[in-house]
Symmetry: C2
Subunit: 171 residues, 2 copies
């Protein structure tokens, strides 16, 4: 194991909003990940970032996925895909909240019913449109994360299994 | 770091099919994950498993996500969602292939243009239908993974950003 600060998440319990619930984090990790690249976006701070993927897409901003060149051969045939699933690591957040009170909601909601970056494994998922392949770089529309966010994975998006137009949340 | 075998992926290079390309794995990991539960499916061996998510869904099999009870509060409001994104860890695979030759394809394709479990970070993603919430257990249709697969994350599925009905792969 390396000494990356990412592997030492904070577990502070004194900093909860009313209604939030923190869990005791497990004593050890179970597996480890490589950062396989970085995501370049126009958003330099969390405050600059679009609030969510829809808002990011609406900006039309072209973001660049810079894959570590060691993995460049892994992009063979990627241009067959109009859309991709991108997994990335939200490395600046606590990992112990089970119930969160998002500002826009004003009440508690379970972590697994939210897309908040605060979660036991801070892996974010975005569906993006692939616009250009240039060596080990991919231009996509759009990501909602901060510039320099670590990349975990890129997958082809399959409408047959990944697209559920009539899925409902809330109501 | 714990001594889990999951953190020591194989890096054998002598076992490649014609056309496959292995990358040198980085010397260290960058971050670590917790297994936050297990996925219970009817498929006891890799041979039993449906070939993909579409096939799994067509079986109509109800699978059960057993969340570690420490995270049970994180399911608050999850019943608002008709569909969920599930992330899980494919813990039985090599991680170093950049180009793979899937049996059904018979030629090399980049890892990032495939949904194969073989990838630098073996994180799989499935979109499932939520059918029942019972304490820290969720019944869903359907998963294509082997019984006992480690769970990494559950997210609400948003049609507004996650559903791209006209996405194309291949052609």
């Amino acid at each position: 194991m390396n000494s990356s600060q990412d592997a030492k998440p904070s577990n502070k319990t004194g900093d909860l909003r009313d209604g939030e619930v923190a869990a005791a984090l497990p004593e050890h990790f179970d597996a480890s990940v490589y950062f396989i690249g970085r995501i370049r976006t126009p958003w330099k701070t969390r405050k600059d970032c679009p609030k969510n993927a829809r808002e990011a897409r609406e900006t039309g901003a072209v973001c660049t996925i810079e894959l570590d060149p060691r993995w460049a051969a892994g992009l063979k045939d990627i241009e067959r895909c109009t859309h991709l699933v991108v997994l990335y690591w939200m490395d600046k957040v606590r990992r112990d909240l089970a119930v969160q009170v998002p500002g826009h909601l004003g009440k508690g909601r379970g972590t697994f019913a939210l897309r908040s970056p605060v979660r036991p494994n801070p892996i974010a998922m975005s569906v993006v449109k692939l616009v250009k392949v240039d060596g080990s770089k991919l231009d996509v529309i759009a990501m909602d994360c901060i510039d320099g966010t670590p990349l975990l994975d890129i997958k082809p998006y399959y409408a047959s299994t990944d697209s559920i137009p009539d899925a409902v949340t809330g109501g």
